[in-house]
């Protein structure tokens, strides 16, 4: 069955520190992969996506993610976190008929 696992429910980092959010997926074929961010009371905003080609993809707000087929992972990274990055982050996988399957999310807190 198709699934997405985000192992970390909650992460706290200091402002200026680097960040990595983990995402593992189970999918029968090469998936399309997405990271979305959700600020409190808001909808989901697309950070970046991977469809094919270069396995390191750049997104908005200084985020990047790397697709590793051998590890079935698509981890999100940022070299220096800002206080405004505090939010919930969702990894999603999908292909075919546009159906997306989301992970449970990782809530990021940023200490000043």
């Amino acid at each position: 069955a198709q699934s997405v696992t985000q192992p970390d429910i909650h992460i706290t980092v200091s402002e200026g520190a680097s960040l990595e959010l983990r995402c593992n997926y189970s999918y029968g074929a090469t998936p399309y992969l997405f990271w979305y961010v959700q600020s409190p009371g808001q909808g989901l905003q697309l950070l970046l996506k991977y469809f094919s080609g270069d396995t390191l993809v750049q997104g908005i707000k200084g985020f990047e993610a790397e697709f590793k087929r051998s590890q079935s992972s698509f981890n999100l990274r940022k070299p220096s976190v800002h206080w405004s990055d505090a939010a919930e982050y969702f990894c999603a996988v999908g292909r075919g008929y546009n159906k997306l399957i989301f992970g449970a999310g990782t809530r990021l807190a940023v200490h000043p």
Binding site: G43, Q45, F90, G105
Partner: protein
């Protein structure tokens, strides 16, 4: 370009009452989705439309939930009667046909007492 619009933003009802949510997708987006996001979980697809036809409603609790998109543009999701476990955020998203990227609205937060 205007984003996906949803209303109301918040709704509080008592169990067994009915409620309806409205969504207007991005102009030109033929595909429309309704998701349910329960607290602490990721969004779960309830129903997907392409134009005014249903593509996937396999996870829609059809005994109490219904959705329509009569003119292939805006859509309404209804719950009747509501249960306590329906408390969640209901997200609407849209995309171009054949485009994998979905664009989300701000959601409607429902609390059933």
């Amino acid at each position: 370009e205007a984003g996906v619009a949803q209303s109301p933003r918040y709704k509080i009802i008592e169990k067994r009452q009915s409620v309806a949510f409205w969504c207007n997708p991005i102009s030109g987006h033929a595909t429309l989705y309704w998701y349910q996001q329960i607290l602490g979980q990721g969004p779960k697809l309830l129903i997907q439309f392409q134009n005014n036809g249903v593509v996937d409603d396999s996870q829609l609790p059809k005994d109490r939930f219904s959705a329509e998109r009569l003119k292939g543009v805006d859509s309404t999701l209804k719950i009747q009667p509501a249960k306590l476990e329906d408390s969640a955020v209901y997200l609407c998203a849209s995309s171009l046909v054949g485009e994998e990227t979905q664009y989300f609205g701000p959601g409607t937060r429902l609390l059933v007492l």
